[in-house]
């Protein structure tokens, strides 16, 4: 099959897959370990008690350990799934998977650093920045960040710098 034929067939499948009733992507609850499930059930009990609203701040504070641990579990599991599935879905080999991890963990560290800087900013300065960025319409779109060239390293013969 030629590439254009394949593209046409995949496009055909894409239109069939366009389902107006888009469903939310969820974790398979049974994959969590038993202690994790127990903890998440407790958090869910608290959430259900105050549904459809959110639990009040004092309740969250009282159950802070459960609450934050629950969030940590979700964050960690989402990351675990992403790091495992993405390279596999792109059919990456060992080297490509290694590059994926390098780029992913660098993104995470870059972002944590920028959030740390933001959180250290005085409130007035931060508010002014938000107003300015919102006025420029920048909070509703994303763009390519400028990267500095990597430090010169010895190249493999004939290989292109990734």
């Amino acid at each position: 099959m030629r590439p254009w034929q394949l593209n046409r067939k995949v496009q055909g499948l894409s239109s069939k897959l366009e389902d107006p009733a888009k469903t939310e992507t969820r974790f398979d609850y049974n994959c969590f370990s038993e202690p994790e499930r127990k903890l998440l059930d407790k958090v869910q009990e608290i959430v259900d008690e105050y549904a459809p609203g959110s639990p009040p701040q004092d309740v969250i504070e009282k159950n802070a350990d459960l609450w934050y641990k629950g969030l940590e579990i979700f964050g960690r599991r989402a990351m675990e799934l992403f790091v495992e599935i993405m390279p596999a879905s792109f059919c990456c080999d060992e080297l490509e998977e290694w590059y994926f991890k390098i780029y992913f963990y660098n993104f995470l560290l870059d972002w944590i650093e920028s959030v740390k800087d933001l959180r250290e900013m005085p409130k007035e300065e931060l508010d002014a920045l938000i107003v300015e960025r919102r006025g420029m319409g920048m909070l509703d779109r994303v763009f390519r960040l400028k990267r500095y060239p990597p430090p010169a390293i010895q190249k493999q013969s004939g290989s292109e710098e990734p």
Partner: protein, 153 residues
């Protein structure tokens, strides 16, 4: 609750959660739409049929269904990650935007890198992997050495 108390309680909980081995996390199959489920079921069926012994012809013959299955996984996994992470880290509006900018930047850079790596010759890839493993094992030895020193002190 004071931060120190909270950290202690979270550490205790972490300790309780630690010993149970995880069998890996999956996406709830029911969260896929019906057409998506059909594509994935077809993929599972093929996987079972070839049972790790995929031939070049079999891949070519089922290329579109394999690619579509991978596409579904990639989009769903990205969606779940982008939904769960900012919430798990309790980000405000600006921090969420920053997260999105950094995330899409990472994805674009990695795809570019992937494109370049795929242009490498087989020999270059093997050489690079070998060098990487040598460096890694040297680093491990270095760490073990420095740990040993620390322990002796």
């Amino acid at each position: 609750m004071k931060p120190a108390q909270l950290t202690k309680r979270i550490d205790e909980l972490s300790e309780k959660l630690k010993p149970v081995p995880s069998e890996g996390i999956k996406i709830d199959f029911h969260s896929f739409t019906e057409p998506e489920q059909l594509v994935l079921l077809k993929n599972f069926e093929l996987d079972e049929k070839y049972n790790g012994h995929w031939t070049h012809e079999a891949i070519l013959e089922n290329k579109e269904i394999i690619l579509k299955g991978n596409h579904i996984f990639i989009s769903r996994i990205t969606e779940l990650f982008l939904f769960a992470m900012p919430r798990a880290m309790m980000l405000d509006e600006v921090e969420q935007k920053l997260f999105a900018i950094n995330f899409w930047g990472f994805l674009e850079r990695w795809l570019e890198c992937q494109k370049n790596v795929r242009k490498w010759t087989e020999k270059d890839r093997e050489d690079f992997l070998r060098d990487m493993k040598i460096t890694e094992s040297k680093n491990h030895k270095g760490e073990a050495g420095s740990n040993g020193k620390e322990n002796n002190n």
